[in-house]
Symmetry: C2
Subunit: 462 residues, 2 copies
């Protein structure tokens, strides 16, 4: 039995680990496009910021750890073609020669590639000019080299999603004055505007110069080695900045070339369709992670690339590659980001997503304290609970609180409740922990749910 996993990131490595764990007699090979298997892509902003001492620390497991599990790693090796009928994979190795590897089962975790927005000049400029995208370890080294070489005093970040915000913090930590430009009306557009405004205030407080409703149109070499960035602000007013460095982080798209060429079909956002067992429909070919569609427990099939999901899907694919019958239980889109001293988290659906999924959502916002106000350090968590007006079912929750408020793990209570399709009212029945320095007799999670019930469902439904 020979399992090949393509991809050295979360999905591929998770599949390989699970296959080895369940069937120690199986031969497992991992084809890794670069030299950095099992690196934490999510950790890159903290290496750039200087908080992670050595880039090697970003590895979830070292090369030696991985080899100790019994898997073979083919580094600097690009998967170039899948011969489905022949059960073999063509690869180009570090010597640039093409060779074929036979497999019994294949797990494809090619991941995603950064979106290149339509900015004039972007294709002509690169790391040598101080213009960066950021997705791989290679991108990371290019960026840190640029930071050392150019010693930028100013940087402009295109995009204010998760990575954009983390990089705003990271570059600020390096003493760089950051301008952040976001096309949409708010930063962190994955949460409601009321919460995006709290994140925006945190950026302002730390000196990040934020421009929303603003689109970067052109990047050009400027005076004395700098970069000249031209854009359009609200009402199409022209805006321009001269900066030392530009970072473009506006999201990712699935890297599906290999699978599509082999005959796989695609779904939302062009991601490869997979079944609940992560099978692609191609014989003995599974796929997982950022290159495939995401089964969402409330939305059905969507595209929602997240590291947590890649780990779970990879594990399912690896199990099935060695003869198992696992299925991916589905995502709830649970996410969290730290922005300076603030934490923003969400799980489940926002109203517009819930409407699209056929629900009748209503939302209530409250700001209960993280713990009893009489104990020092109490701090409000702004919580937006969304539930279905007709059935009372919990549909989603969004939270923003100070880092001290355990907001990151409070969202997990909502996520677990959502997993079990609880009603909002039902959350009052959960037996959650309480001690005055860390909570309240009804946890903040329950206070927010009760506020929703009081507003939208004031009569008991028992």
């Amino acid at each position: 039995m020979h399992v090949i996993a393509i991809g050295g990131s979360d999905a591929g490595i998770s599949a390989a680990l699970r296959a080895r764990e369940l069937d120690p007699t199986s031969r497992v090979s991992v084809v890794v496009a670069d030299a950095y298997p099992n690196f934490s892509i999510c950790g890159i902003p903290y290496y750039v910021s200087g908080e992670v001492g050595h880039w090697r620390n970003l590895a979830h497991r070292t090369h030696a750890d991985l080899q100790a599990t019994g898997m073979d790693l083919h580094l600097d090796t690009l998967a170039t073609h899948i011969d489905v009928d022949g059960h073999r994979l063509q690869v180009r190795g570090p010597d640039q020669n093409l060779t074929w590897l036979d497999y019994d089962a294949l797990v494809v975790g090619t991941g995603a590639v950064p979106v290149r927005p339509p900015i004039a000049g972007l294709d002509d400029l690169g790391p040598d000019d101080g213009v960066h995208l950021l997705h791989t370890m290679g991108d990371t080294f290019a960026l840190t080299a640029s930071l050392e070489r150019r010693s930028p005093r100013t940087a402009l970040i295109v995009g204010a999603g998760y990575v954009g915000l983390e990089m705003a913090e990271g570059l600020t930590a390096r003493g760089i004055a950051v301008t952040q430009v976001e096309m949409l009306p708010q930063v962190l557009p994955t949460v409601d505007p009321e919460l995006g405004a709290l994140v925006r205030a945190e950026l302002d407080r730390h000196g990040v110069d934020v421009h929303t409703r603003t689109t970067v149109r052109r990047i050009a070499r400027g005076e004395s080695g700098g970069l000249h960035v031209i854009g359009e602000g609200p009402d199409r007013q022209p805006v321009a900045w001269d900066v030392d460095l530009v970072l473009v982080v506006v999201g990712v798209r699935p890297d599906t070339e290999l699978l599509v060429a082999a005959g796989a079909t695609t779904g939302p956002r062009g991601a490869v369709n997979v079944r609940p067992d992560m099978a692609t429909g191609l014989a003995e070919v599974w796929a997982a992670g950022d290159c495939v569609t995401t089964a969402h427990r409330l939305l059905g099939t969507t595209y929602l690339p997240l590291g947590t999901t890649a780990h779970k899907q990879g594990r399912v694919a690896g199990e099935n590659a060695v003869g198992g019958s696992a299925t991916y239980a589905g995502s709830l889109g649970t996410q969290v980001v730290k922005v300076f001293d603030l934490v923003a988290a969400r799980t489940g659906l926002r109203e517009h997503e819930a409407v699209a999924a056929g629900f009748t959502p209503v939302t209530t916002q409250t700001a209960p304290d993280d713990h009893k106000a009489y104990y020092p350090g109490a701090s409000p968590i702004t919580i937006r609970v969304t539930g279905d007006q007709h059935t009372g079912r919990l549909l989603g929750a969004q939270l923003v609180g100070a880092r001290s408020t355990e907001t990151a793990k409070r969202v997990d209570t909502y996520a677990t409740a959502l997993f079990h399709a609880m009603t909002v009212d039902g959350l009052a029945q959960l037996d959650l922990s309480y001690t005055p320095p860390l909570g309240s007799p009804w946890d903040a999670v329950q206070i927010a749910a009760q506020a929703w019930v009081a507003e939208h469902q004031p009569r008991p439904t028992h």
Copy 2:
């Protein structure tokens, strides 16, 4: 419609609030034995420590807040007799006169009273001598008066449960050298010894002189106004201390006199039997909180007095008192305590409890980091997961971690999983939040569950 709630603590006030909320036309009276309705008993250690500025801050709601809900408060009024057939309650008011109050529905939340252990001298000594029990606001004022009057340099705490540990921290914060004496082999006996040892180390680190397997036998007035405490250590060796203050906090027992006199039956630990709707079996008499038995989702009927439970039960009783049909969904015994910089939490069952309930429990201990090790400040959470060897069902979890580790809210994920009778293996399916500064792609909660599965159930059970 006239609802009377007896008790100014969590159960009584919760019942009164819920009755007023659901039926604003109802008349609701609360009979409160002292002058401190809706005070947070759990907060007392933080007032004694000096962390809560004014004792009034310990009130969940002020007197005015409560009156604004439309309830009538009868303060310094003791409920002395329930005339079930006559639907009336006898009370002794602040003027010491006995009067009768008519009711349509009665909710009894008389709570608990502190256990007085069989220590010679305890009945003869009191606050004037520097010997204290601690349960009510009255006890609190007596203790703080004693602290001010005696300016103790040393104190001995009998008991190392939740309140004993919080008081060890609180008195230490006041600069008092604390000796802590516990009859059982470990501090915090509500968790497994492996975790009790971590709490013990934290006490040691902060200078608390801990004596386990040690029983206090006698307290006597000592030289120069102090107290002489005599006990038996391990192997019955005699031990003795001279201290300035003694605090006895060894748990509580249900205060059931009123209900039992009215004909209520009692169950575990002498608590009053209640049905899932918190009815006592006496016509139109409900009861809730520390005076009643606790429905436990895994154990059946037990006695487990907790503020969180009292709030939930009181709410159910209040709803039913005005004609509702709510039921208490049951406790999981979820608890958390902060001891200096450590947090200890549990939910569900430990092995011996699970055996008694007919399960076949096995436990795995791990210590995953709270967040990715490469990000500064990562700290292990020691987690003991208990599951059923035959069915794979999650039975309980115990966690000890530094205060920064969000341990208090991580236990809530286990509690929510337990509420839904998940398997340990099933926890891997939960979509929990991740960002490197606050978690890992498989959350610590899931890593601990996977370790249990790897040890006890290595083959997939899908």
